[in-house]
Amino acid sequence: MSSQLAHHFEDMSQQREASSLGMWAFIVTEVMFFGAVFTAYGICRMMYPNAFGEASNKLSVLLGAVNTGVLICSSLTMALAVRSAQLNKTKSIIGFLIATMILGGAFLGIKVLEYSHKIHEHLIPGLDFVYEGVHAPQAEIFFSFYFVMTGLHALHMIIGIGIMVWLLVLAMRNRLTDQYYAPIEITGLYWHLVDIVWIFLFPLIYLIGRA
């Protein structure tokens, strides 16, 4: 155990608490990061409610909803992976981590599918944007937000999956135990945060102007 205690900490619990606190501070940063773009989106939506509603109808609720489900599943498997580490069950850590990565991959796959639809429909703001009707300029803003927000969210998922590869290596070497599970714990926090961002993204982007 002691080899996993960095020289500058007094004991394992100080080390774990410091990591967890550092991660929470980072989560606050992430909340502000996504929060600012949500604010910008909210203001533009308030200025152009009709245009945003109309543009939103070009998105597929089905794909968005399926992706929400996939992401919630991955959050569950991630939470169970952390739990396995707390209980010292190495095999199930590995199993749940792989499940989380597969679900994350599925989410990104569906995202790619959605993006390719948008490319075919010429809905790429700035570069290739063809939109009929009086709301065209505002719809372009909507799609700018759509790509920035979902793109940044997807980027976070890719980073999360990258970290999980490292965790998988740690788990396979039996390095994640009930004494030392801070890495998987803070990755879990991060992954759930990404889930929460999507929980807000989905209704605000996909489900407006449907009624």
Binding site: Y48, P49, N50, A51, V134, H135, P137
Partner: protein, 315 residues
């Protein structure tokens, strides 16, 4: 070269009021600076390392003092806040009946047109003693219309009207600056404000033989076929514009807006934004067909079609 001003010209009604606040602030600043400097110098000299002055009774905290130097500055600050906010509101709300002059900023010049039709570039002729309201927009980046002698400044944004007003008090020639960085020749986007006596101003107006803005607007109204939909009297396709200006308009989403210059401008450029109740959104945008000056002329024309003449009170 060695005779240079230390105080700016003061040539508008608000300039005097702003300066009073300014000098009050200078006095407050001098007072507190002096308190701090005297305190520091006194302590530094009297309690230098080698001095024999008694250090007895030194304290490390004193609630009374802390509260005093929190609450007194707070009181002063709130006083300044109220004073300056009242002044600011007055600086923002143009008196009704102010004469309106249209300003278009572009990299890097000011284009100005008077309702009588006179155009000028980088110069603004105004009469003394009359409230003047500037209705300003930009055709590219953000500029800022700044007349130091009048103590007024307002950013001029693309895509909307900004307004400000002043009443000049002293005839003369004053600086006009662009105060918001706008690119290479930002410092060349300057001009003169020429304040004239009323008769001189009228002479100046008469000197430039030109078509009134509303007449030019009427021309454009015909040229672009606006009257095919916006017929006077009852019409099926577009709302009538007679007597529209200054009135409340009910929109299809249930909101109500005042038909001011900004509303008219937006309705020409982005007609779908605010649709009047009982009409359909099929008016096309005239975004790329009209220059900013032409839009101003159309607005001035519609304004002249009746309704209240008083200016809207949006900043």
């Amino acid at each position: 070269m060695w005779s240079f001003p230390l105080l700016p010209d003061r040539a508008s009604t608000v300039a005097t009021q702003v300066d009073m606040l300014y000098f009050f602030l200078v006095a407050v600043s001098l007072f507190f600076s002096l308190v701090i400097i005297v305190g520091l110098v006194y302590s530094a000299v009297r309690y230098r390392k080698d001095s024999k002055a008694s250090r007895e009774g030194a304290v490390h905290e004193h609630l009374g003092l802390e509260l005093a130097w929190s609450i007194i500055p707070l009181g002063i600050a709130m006083g300044i806040f109220v004073w300056s906010s009242v002044l600011y509101l007055g600086m923002h709300v143009a008196p009704s009946g102010a004469m309106e002059i249209y300003v278009v900023g572009k990299q890097w010049m000011w284009k100005i047109q008077h309702p009588q039709g006179n155009r000028e570039i980088n110069e603004l002729h105004v009469p003394v003693g009359k409230p003047v309201k500037l209705i300003m927009t930009s055709q590219d980046v953000i500029h800022s219309f700044y007349i130091p002698a009048f103590r007024i400044k307002q950013d001029v944004l693309p895509g909307r009207y900004s307004t400000q007003w002043f009443q000049a008090t002293t005839p003369g020639v004053y600086h006009l600056f662009c105060a918001e960085y706008c690119g290479t020749s930002h410092s060349g986007m300057i001009g003169k404000v020429i304040v004239l006596d009323q008769p001189e101003y009228e002479a100046w107006l008469a000197g430039g033989s030109s078509t009134a803005m509303s007449s030019s607007g009427a021309e454009l109204f015909k040229q672009f076929g606006c009257q095919t939909c916006h017929k006077s009297g009852s019409s099926q396709r577009g709302p009538s514009l007679d007597g529209l200006f200054g009135k409340q308009v009910a929109l299809i989403n249930g909101e109500k807006v005042v038909a001011d210059q900004e509303y008219l401008r937006e309705s020409i450029l982005n007609p779908a934004a605010k649709i009047t109740q009982g009409y359909l959104p099929f008016m096309p945008t005239y975004r790329n067909q009209l220059s900013h000056e032409q839009i101003n002329q159309l607005v001035e024309y519609v304004k002249g079609l009746g309704g209240q003449t008083s200016a809207s009170e949006h900043p």
